[in-house]
């Protein structure tokens, strides 16, 4: 019973991270990518929780904490980077569409 639950949870988390990855790849603006990056971090933490539930070990508690910390630091870093330089936000498209956007 327990293993089937673990497998199902894992599948769900994996699906979440796949979705997040898709968003990272196609995300129109950078902010979508940042959000997706954060979700990836969270889904990995989730996976670790499932693993430690399955293996009944306490080893991974610190790593979960570190992962969430680093997810946060990554987001803050990207946001601060974008905050100072709004030009990066604009759409830099192919074949000159960015000119039209820029006005």
């Amino acid at each position: 019973m327990m293993t089937s639950v673990v497998i199902l949870t894992f599948a769900l988390l994996a699906a979440a991270s796949v979705l997040a990855l898709v968003r990272v790849l196609i995300g129109p603006t950078i902010i979508d990518r940042i959000i997706a990056f954060d979700l990836v971090a969270i889904s990995i933490v989730g996976m670790m929780v499932v693993l430690s539930v399955w293996w009944k070990t306490q080893l991974f508690i610190e790593i979960m904490l570190i992962f969430s910390l680093l997810g946060f630091v990554g987001t803050v870093a990207f946001v601060c980077y974008l905050h100072n330089d709004p030009t990066k936000l604009k759409r830099v498209g192919r074949k000159g569409t960015s000119k039209k956007e820029a006005q």
């Binding site: 990272v24 790849l25 980077y81 830099v92």
Partner: protein
């Protein structure tokens, strides 16, 4: 024994302390050091006699067979005396020659350092130790030649001398190692009496003999390497008198003497040594005839006399050498005095060009007298030691029936007579050109050359005095058995006839050239090896600059693909070559994909594809950190928490730093031009990275199949608890078992940070405009001003 070698070196601190106060007179005090060494040496020679005795066998690097072992035998004692006695005279002469304004402390400490190096070379028994001291003399000569470091010419001369002697020194080192490997020992004493045949593989012996001789030729400025000696004349005259006539250039002769007992039975010995020696003698004499600067003439004459000395070793190879020490002694005496007189002339008139000098005899009679004796000895006129040594060499040549060399020696002797006569008559006699202002030199500066000249004269007229000492310092393997008997007159034989002929022709040649006013007396350009050497050096630096630019070392995206491409080609090549052995284990791999691992691997691959596909730097960075997160999760799957933590922390720290770096560029517009250029190389780079990935997987699989028989991992796990009292093996290894590595790592970390700070600070100031050179390597700075 140590005292003899180290006394001059010990005197250096003394000199450094006293020089500021004593100023010029410190020279006399410095003279005491070689005098002390000479005294000690005399006591040592008296107590041991001249049988070769190895003293002081102190192991220095036992694994390499290098030990501090010194050898006392006739040859080394003789050279030791030459170094010390001439050293005293040179110090005395330098005290007078260097006026107020020169840095006495630096000069004398270099000189003493040189003396120690010379004594060390002469007395060392272990070949590698000899090499060490050999290179030290090279360094000392570099310092001394470049004493007037303001003038570009002396800097060039010093660099040239160092490069040539060091290069030939390297060849010598290879020769020494070859000899050591094939004969099993580096100590000269055992090598000397061991016969050549019993060494393991004879093939190497010829090679090591040639290489050792190349080292000797380089140091003694023989044919291909003779151009550095005239260049070294930019040194102050005491240095020229000491290093470049009496001692340092004699090292090549000394080495030939040392390795004579080992290699003389080789047939190539006769041809190589005599050939190079006597050809250099002729070549040097020819160049001396054609040069005008006083010291240049003396330099080229030294080159030719060294050829004479080295050739002497080649001649007597069957019966053993007769009186090589006599040849060396006579050359030291007259060449030393000639250099010193040249120094006095230069000191008093400030000129060194023979054509502008004349009639100085009236102003400095004592110098003229000693110059006359020196020139007579150089030309080999009777009543001087020069005559006796030339006679002996000619006698050897006649015995050995080597008529080719005999003619060569005779020819170069006539040329020597010609330029020797020019040296004396054009400078000291004849009318004094009015433009010349001459002030009379003090008697103190004239006595050292006078002493040397008188010694040459007295020993020339009464050679018998030398018989006792020459027989005493015979070396078993080197010198012939029967005692030498020197006499002024050996009766009416071929040598006397040729000498008379030489003198007459030489005089005729001198008169001929005098009449033609020495117009053709300048060295043709194709013979100017030193100019060619300089051009070679400059060409080298230009080539390297162009190469770095061609490789676009400053624009990483351009040269990284090339580097990776070659990595790929080499790896793929090795795999292809040994493909059978490489792939034989692969069939046994069980491809059981656990769903979890594959999922994570797929995710990593997907996010990396994202990195390639996405356009802008920031988006690529996000995709990259996603890949990093998944990679860390991989470690978690393998139950490696420490590793996962470190990996993720380092990775996100670097992501933040890259972001900071990115925010430095005002906007991505700046990269427009770069990105255009990047686009077309993209496919090539994708294939390249694919290739690297493939090769890496291959290597990993290969390594997996051939793991080490008894890996150390498990041992650490067992020992971690009992020894280090810690259950976390990763940390106990880091801190306890391999604590030393960690210590090293954190030191490196600190140093690397300081380096990085240096670069970043420099860049910051650069932008503030007050820093002349902006940070190197930031291609932004160089190519385009944003």
């Amino acid at each position: 024994m140590f005292a003899v070698i180290l006394l001059p070196a010990l005197a250096v601190p003394l000199v450094l302390a006293l020089a500021p106060r004593l100023g010029q007179r410190v020279g006399y005090l410095v003279g005491a050091a070689p005098l002390g060494s000479a005294g000690l040496l005399a006591w040592l020679a008296a107590s041991t006699g001249s049988q070769p005795r190895v003293i002081l066998e102190i192991p220095w690097v036992p694994q390499l067979g290098v030990n501090l072992s010194f050898l006392i035998d006739g040859l080394s004692i003789f050279y030791g005396f030459v170094i010390c006695v001439i050293g005293v005279l040179v110090c005395w002469y330098a005290a007078e020659y260097l006026g107020r304004k020169y840095a006495h402390a630096r000069f004398y400490s270099c000189l003493l350092f040189f003396m120690t190096a010379m004594l060390g070379t002469v007395f060392s028994n272990n070949l590698l130790l000899l090499f060490v001291f050999w290179e030290l003399t090279g360094v000392a000569s570099f310092l001394l030649i470049g004493f007037f470091h303001e003038s570009d010419e002396s800097r060039r001369g010093a660099r040239q001398a160092l490069l040539v002697t060091a290069a030939t020194g390297l060849c010598m080192l290879v020769g020494i190692i070859l000899l050591g490997l094939s004969s099993g020992t580096y100590s000269l004493a055992t090598l000397a009496d061991g016969s050549l045949s019993d060494y393991k593989d004879g093939g190497w012996i010829a090679a090591s003999c040639v290489l050792l001789l190349v080292g000797a030729f380089g140091k003694s400025a023989q044919f291909p390497f003779q151009f550095w000696l005239p260049g070294a004349m930019a040194a102050p005259t005491p240095v020229s008198a000491y290093l470049h006539s009496a001692t340092m250039v004699k090292l090549g002769v000394f080495l030939t003497g040392r390795i004579f007992p080992i290699f003389h039975s080789l047939d190539l010995w006769f041809w190589l040594v005599c050939g190079v020696g006597f050809f250099t003698m002729l070549f040097g004499a020819f160049l001396a005839l054609r040069s005008n600067d006083l010291k240049a003439i003396l330099a080229y004459s030294t080159v030719s006399q060294l050829g004479f000395l080295i050739g002497a070793y080649g001649v007597g190879s069957k019966t053993g050498i007769q009186a090589d020490t006599l040849h060396v002694l006579s050359h030291v005496l007259y060449k030393g005095s000639l250099f010193m007189t040249a120094g006095i002339v230069d000191h008093c008139t400030g000129l060194r060009d023979v054509r502008k000098l004349g009639g100085l005899g009236r102003y400095m009679p004592v110098t003229a007298f000693s110059a006359a004796i020196g020139v007579a000895a150089l030309a080999g006129l009777p009543l001087t030691t020069g005559f006796i040594s030339k006679e002996l060499l000619l006698a050897d040549l006649v015995d050995a029936r080597a008529w080719v060399w005999f003619a060569l020696v005779a020819l170069s002797a006539t040329l020597t007579v010609a330029f020797a006569a020019r040296l004396f008559f054009n400078v000291f006699t004849g009318s004094k050109p009015e433009a010349l202002s001459v002030h009379r030199p003090g008697w103190a500066i004239q006595t050292p050359p006078l002493l040397l000249a008188l010694a040459a004269l007295i020993l020339g007229t009464f050679p018998g005095l030398l018989d006792g000492t020459l027989n005493a310092i015979k070396v078993a393997g080197l010198h012939g058995e029967e005692p030498i008997h020197l006499a002024l007159w050996h009766g009416f034989n071929l040598e006397v006839l040729t000498t008379a002929l030489i003198i007459v022709c030489g005089g005729g040649l001198y008169l001929l050239c005098q009449k033609s006013g020495w117009k053709r007396a300048e060295i043709p350009t194709f013979l100017r090896f030193d100019a060619a050497f300089e051009r070679g050096l400059d060409g080298l630096s230009v080539f390297s600059k162009r190469l770095t630019l061609a490789l676009r070392a400053d624009w990483p995206p351009a040269y990284l693909p090339i580097v990776i491409f070659f990595l790929l080609v080499s790896l793929a090549g090795t795999v292809a070559v040994s493909s059978s052995r490489f792939f034989e284990g692969f069939s046994a791999i069980d491809i059981s994909l656990s769903p979890l691992h594959t999922f994570v691997a797929v995710m990593i691959a997907a996010s990396l594809v994202g990195v390639i596909v996405l356009r802008r730097w920031t988006t690529q960075l996000i995709a990259l950190s996603v890949a990093g997160f998944f990679l860390t999760f991989y470690f978690v799957l393998y139950r490696a928490p420490d590793l996962a933590m470190t990996q993720i922390l380092v990775e996100s720290a670097s992501v933040v730093m890259i972001l900071l770096l990115l925010s430095r560029f005002p906007s991505s517009r700046l990269f427009r031009s770069e990105e255009k250029r990047e686009a077309k190389g993209r496919i090539f780079r994708v294939i390249l990275s694919g290739g690297v990935g493939l090769v890496m997987t291959g290597l990993v699989l290969f390594a997996d199949r051939h793991s080490h028989p008894d890996p150390i991992g498990p041992k650490y796990l067992e020992l971690s608890k009992p020894l280090a009292e810690g259950t976390n093996a990763v940390n106990t290894i880091l801190v306890d078992f391999r604590g030393f590595d960690t210590l090293g790592e954190i030191t490196v970390l600190l140093i690397a940070t300081l380096g990085a700070l240096g670069l970043m600070m420099r860049y910051k100031r650069g932008r503030a405009g007050n820093d002349p050179a902006p940070a190197p390597g930031f291609f932004l700075e160089k190519k385009r001003r944003p």
